[in-house]
């Protein structure tokens, strides 16, 4: 083009006003779009922090709701924190080994096999299962058919179902990043396959897998709907996740937010701040860990 213009001696035509205008309009629209996304985030965080800080105290974090009615002030989230930590720990203990082994199968053993493709497809489908459906499944299977009572463990089962696909996906991505040369070097030394996976592949991908697990834990920690169907509600501290109703932070927020009394709503904000604090610590921790990932 420049050659052409040089021959004819014309200056390169400037971008017309209409095109410039369009470019500007889109530029503004894109900035506005980003602002639109930041507004709700800031508003949510501001509201949770400003309202939550007024409620949170040592008392709030160390007391249960035992003997406290909806209109009474006081009470706390201790029983819910205990419940949430136990349920999430149980869910992780059940789902992480299954999920990581599934990822190992998909990457190390299943390459190109039809079964692996089927599993991979259904892991994707499972990612999209609404959390309430996982709750209904545990309700139908564990409580209605097998006849167990509601318990923290039933809630953990539902959370586990939700955790598996996310952990499989992230672990799979990480295992795929492990360079094949490492595996080949190990095989060349006569190391059996399973030891190669255990001692070479998994350690190499370790930080990446842990990052994925932390994000999955943070995600299920905020799940409410499946817990409402499986752990019931209680105001008292129950350390035993295998027997009787248990509380949890999300169901506690649900309970208090549905109560029209101002003191109850205030408690909901306090619990929301507690929950969001734990989740953000997990999230930011996971990101920091991801930066240190050994695989580049």
């Amino acid at each position: 083009m420049s050659v052409l213009t040089a021959k004819t001696g014309q200056a390169i035509p400037e971008t017309s006003l209409g095109r410039k205008l369009k470019d500007r309009t889109v530029l503004i629209a894109v900035y506005v779009a980003f602002a639109l996304a930041v507004i709700p985030l800031v508003s949510v965080l501001y509201k949770v922090i400003s309202e939550g800080v007024q409620v949170i105290s040592a008392d709030f974090l160390t007391r249960s709701m035992n003997g406290i009615g909806g209109r009474d002030a006081g009470g706390g989230v201790y029983h819910s924190i205990v419940g949430t930590l136990e349920q999430v720990a149980l869910a992780s203990a059940m789902s992480i080994p299954i999920a990581v082994l599934t990822a190992v199968y998909l990457v190390e053993y299943g390459q190109g096999k039809r079964l692996a493709k089927t599993i991979s497809f259904f892991v994707d489908v499972m990612t999209g299962i609404p959390s309430i459906v996982a709750g209904l499944f545990v309700l139908a299977f564990w409580i209605l058919v097998l006849g167990f009572e509601v318990s923290g463990f039933a809630g953990a089962l539902a959370l586990g179902v939700l955790m598996i696909p996310t952990v499989v996906r992230s672990a799979e991505e990480m295992l795929k990043l492990v360079p094949n040369e490492l595996r080949e070097a190990s095989y060349a030394l006569g190391v059996p396959r399973w030891r190669t996976v255990m001692k070479v592949v998994l350690p190499t991908a370790f930080t990446g897998i842990v990052t994925g697990i932390m994000l999955a834990v943070a995600r299920v920690m905020g799940e409410t709907a499946p817990l409402l169907l499986t752990i019931w509600v209680t105001k008292v501290i129950n350390f035993n996740a295998f027997q009787g109703a248990q509380s949890s932070l999300p169901t506690y927020i649900w309970e208090q937010a549905s109560d029209p009394n101002q003191v109850a709503v205030a408690r909901a904000w306090g619990a929301a701040l507690t929950l969001i604090f734990i989740i953000m610590v997990l999230n930011i921790g996971a990101r920091l860990l991801a930066r240190r990932t050994s695989i580049r």
């Binding site: 629209a29 639109l36 459906v133 399973w194 905020g222």
Partner: protein, 326 residues
């Protein structure tokens, strides 16, 4: 590294004493079995979810005196039980589509902003901020929606009603409060990060030669995006939208907190009311008897099937695109 040591010591052992060393075959079999078993177990869970939901839904469907598909009322606990999913299906589909309509343009804007407009150094941090939106649990969006957004949205709602009231959706007498519209706004905020992060990934995959070719022809930034980025990313953006739609359809507590219970299908989305599959389940579960629970499981099964179809369609688009680009 221990593996190398192990092998060395094993090798030394062999040369000295000719002791039979493990070929690792048994360990291999066990390990392979465990990995395969886990993979199959995932399939079993999926099968079990469908099977148990169907099994436990049947009693209520048999006892139902009304029409499951067309009745608008949910009286699963009265005797005889009468319930239908018409209102739930309407509320679910309506709120999810409205949310998608609001979220998609903004999400694409964010994705473009982060991948093409924002300064390079800032891009990572901005992406992190959008990801944080996804990390906030739905119950907290519900709390915020009910105790902040509902109270502070009357201005916008009455504006829409006054100036756009000629559109049937925005008509109505007593607008404001816990309406399907506010529910959709909350859903839109929740699906925004999903759509934008997938779109961003797709945009980043656009081959640099495509972009450079457009720039070499003198295209402005917008023209570059329109000519090279959007056509390349279209199928990826569509599948991102469908994944967002799947999430919006199944979202429970946020929308259950924000909506207020009013029976019947109401096309006036600015008026209080509305209900969805998921919201109905958590709201009525507490007072449900045996048939009531079974009826809720039946409605959950419908939701399961709908979201599965949407998700499978999204995956199909993604995999077709993969074949196309590789």
């Amino acid at each position: 590294m221990t593996s190398i040591d192990d092998v060395q010591t094993a090798a030394v052992g062999v040369s000295r004493r000719r002791r039979a060393i493990s070929t690792g075959r048994r360990g291999d079999k066990i390990f392979r079995g465990a990995a395969l078993g886990s993979g199959v177990f995932v399939l079993v869970i999926m099968g079990a979810i469908a099977a148990f939901l169907v099994w436990k839904a049947i009693p209520a469907l048999q006892a139902n005196q009304g029409s499951f598909l067309t009745d608008t009322e949910w009286r699963a606990n009265s005797d005889p039980p009468r319930f239908g999913i018409a209102q739930l299906a309407f509320g679910t589909v309506m709120s999810a589509f409205l949310a998608l309509l609001m979220a998609t343009p903004v999400a694409i804007g964010i994705a473009l902003f982060i991948s093409f407009y924002a300064p390079r150094k800032l891009a990572d941090g901005l992406g992190f901020i959008v990801d944080l939106l996804a990390a906030v649990p739905s119950i907290i969006y519900g709390l915020w929606g009910l105790h902040f957004l509902v109270m502070n949205s009357d201005g916008v709602v009455s504006f829409l009603n006054t100036y756009l009231g000629w559109i049937p959706l925005f008509a109505g007498e007593n607008v404001g409060g816990q309406s399907l519209f506010i529910g959709s706004v909350v859903l839109a905020i929740m699906i925004l990060p999903i759509i934008s992060s997938i779109s961003r990934e797709v945009f980043l995959q656009v081959p640099t030669p495509h972009i450079e070719a457009a720039q070499a022809l003198g295209a402005t930034r917008w023209e570059t995006i329109r000519l090279s980025v959007l056509p390349y990313g279209r199928s990826g953006v569509i599948s991102a939208m469908m994944l967002g739609l799947g999430r919006a359809l199944g979202e429970t507590v946020a929308i259950a907190l924000v909506l207020s219970t009013v029976a019947g299908i109401n096309w006036h989305i600015l008026e209080p009311g509305g209900n969805t599959f998921a919201a109905n389940i958590v709201r009525t579960f507490g007072e449900s008897g045996e048939i009531g629970r079974s009826a809720l499981i039946a409605s959950g099964l419908v939701l399961f099937v709908i979201t599965m179809i949407v998700n499978m369609a999204a995956r199909a688009i993604v995999s077709r695109r993969k074949e196309f680009t590789e």
